[in-house]
């Protein structure tokens, strides 16, 4: 049962990702990307990682993608944007990224050839994830938080410059 559900979610994730790449309308592409992230969340859940699944929905699908949509709204691309997108997606530009992705796929198939089953069989509870993150992987958490802090400072700086310039007029 779980295996069937897993593969359904996997197919949805793949199809949605392909659609997200090939849509010329930015809004449609983003919706497909959100669907793809949700499908990945289902896969995480089925693989016994409910906490990762929940975070995938809350953070990626629910917050980061909202910001993407926000930016698209600000840009309000319309028909001109679609035409440009179509030009970018045409013919030759697929060759290099396509062949690189194919190589990666080949490598992954080789690696996965030995593996059996999709689930580990054990569910990892949120508590265990927390203990691991703030135990052996504390350094990674700290580095990530520093990165976020620098991003915050950068955003503050950019916003501040804007306010000063507007005050000059």
């Amino acid at each position: 049962m779980i295996v069937v559900l897993f593969y359904i979610a996997a197919v949805i994730a793949l199809a949605a990702t392909v659609a997200a790449l090939t849509r010329t309308n930015a809004t449609h592409a983003l919706i497909y990307l959100i669907v793809s992230l949700l499908a990945v969340a289902v896969m995480f859940f089925l693989m016994g990682a409910p906490f990762a699944a929940a975070l995938e929905v809350v953070i990626y699908a629910g917050a980061i993608m909202v910001l993407f949509v926000f930016v698209i709204m600000m840009l309000n691309l319309g028909a001109a944007g679609e035409a440009r997108e179509r030009q970018w997606l045409a013919g030759r530009s697929w060759f290099v990224p396509g062949s690189m992705a194919a190589l990666l796929l080949l490598e992954m198939l080789l690696v996965l050839g030995d593996a059996h089953g999709v689930t580990s069989g054990t569910a990892v509870s949120p508590k265990v994830v927390g203990m691991t993150l703030f135990g052996p992987y504390l350094l990674a958490v700290e580095i990530a938080s520093m990165l976020l802090l620098s991003g915050l400072v950068g955003a503050y700086h950019l916003g501040r410059r804007f306010i000063v310039r507007r005050g000059d007029h």
């Binding site: 309308n25 809004t27 449609h28 919706i31 959100i34 409910p50 906490f51 699944a53 929940a54 975070l55 929905v57 809350v58 699908a61 629910g62 917050a63 909202v66 910001l67 949509v69 926000f70 698209i72 709204m73 600000m74 309000n76 509870s125 949120p126 508590k127």
Partner: protein
């Protein structure tokens, strides 16, 4: 509960929530009427209760029109997102010791995920309408929801810390001796405000502020699609009330009366309180709303988190 029983119960909850949302449209207007010293809809049936049916008939018979300049696919999809997300949110609410659809150890996160997905409804509705008022409404709601979501999740972490679990049932059972509304009063306050902002109801209905944006994100919507947005909003109100009941007011816990009755009474009281807020508080200006979120509520939530953490460590010794 057996698998079939769970499915039946889930369907029952959805029906009850939708019915409740429908009745709430009338109940809210009557209650607002009382508090604002006027009548409200009182013509049809006892106390005007048949107003709900009349409204439904009106919405059903309206022309279900999609503007030619709109992005048709997204335009039709947008209103369903909020309804589906809100209905799914009810899955993790424990209505009684044995009355629940889903008891998973990420229950609370599941709820947060569903509320954050509901945002897309407003966003995509505003974007697909291809109308400047709708777009402005959508933009506002995106900024508002993302800002308020940040401390919505954080404000609940105090409760999680005291319980030691994300499971909703465990959270209720941990409140046997003392409801969390007392040790987590700051969390309750911030979560309540974030909850109203997330369901974008007055006084936080800037995305649709009718005096400046016509009707914001649903300017172009009519008929059943508009009804879906309204349904989603009222479902959101009920869901937030259920959540506050579960997380801060002991859920189904209470003396004498059966658990489900206690739960419903608490939810009802909270809904009345939200209606009172709508009647009493004017809409803030947009920049006031944003600075309230980032400069007051977020630091307050972080302070609560720090305090709860310190006390929890101190209690452990």
């Amino acid at each position: 509960m057996s698998e079939l029983g769970t499915i039946t119960f889930g369907l029952l909850i959805i029906l009850a929530a939708v019915g409740g949302a429908a009745v709430l449209t009338w109940f809210e207007r009557r209650l607002l009427g009382i508090w604002q010293d006027r009548y409200g809809p009182n013509r049809l049936g006892p106390l005007g209760a048949f107003q709900v049916l009349a409204d439904m008939l009106k919405l059903l018979t309206k022309d279900d029109w999609v503007p030619p300049f709109a992005d048709r696919l997204v335009f039709v999809f947008a209103p369903t997102a909020i309804v589906v997300a809100m209905m799914l949110g009810f899955a993790v609410v424990p209505f009684g010791p044995e009355l629940y659809v889903l008891d998973i150890n990420i229950g609370l996160l599941f709820f947060l995920g569903m509320t954050s997905l509901a945002v897309y409804s407003v966003l995509l509705g505003g974007l697909a309408s291809n109308n400047k008022y709708a777009l402005l409404g959508g933009l506002r709601s995106a900024a508002q929801m993302v800002s308020y979501e940040v401390f919505m999740g954080l404000s609940l972490m105090g409760v999680v810390m005291l319980t030691g679990s994300f499971s909703m049932r465990a959270i209720v059972e941990a409140q046997q001796d003392l409801w969390y509304c007392i040790p987590q009063v700051l969390g309750l306050f911030t979560f309540m405000i974030a909850g109203i902002a997330e369901s974008h109801r007055l006084p936080f209905d800037l995305p649709e502020a009718e005096h400046e944006l016509t009707a914001g994100f649903h300017t172009e919507y009519g008929g059943m699609k508009f009804a879906m947005f309204m349904l989603g909003e009222y479902l959101g109100l009920i869901l937030i009330s259920c959540m506050i009941t579960t997380l801060f007011f002991g859920g189904w816990l209470g003396p004498v009366l059966p658990p489900l009755v206690w739960f419903c009474l608490k939810v009802f009281a909270l809904i009345c309180f939200f209606v009172l807020l709508r009647a009493a508080i004017p809409r803030p200006r947009y920049d006031q709303l944003m600075s309230l979120g980032w400069k007051v509520m977020l630091p307050l939530t972080l302070f609560n988190l720090l305090l709860t953490g310190a006390v929890a460590l101190w209690m452990e010794g």
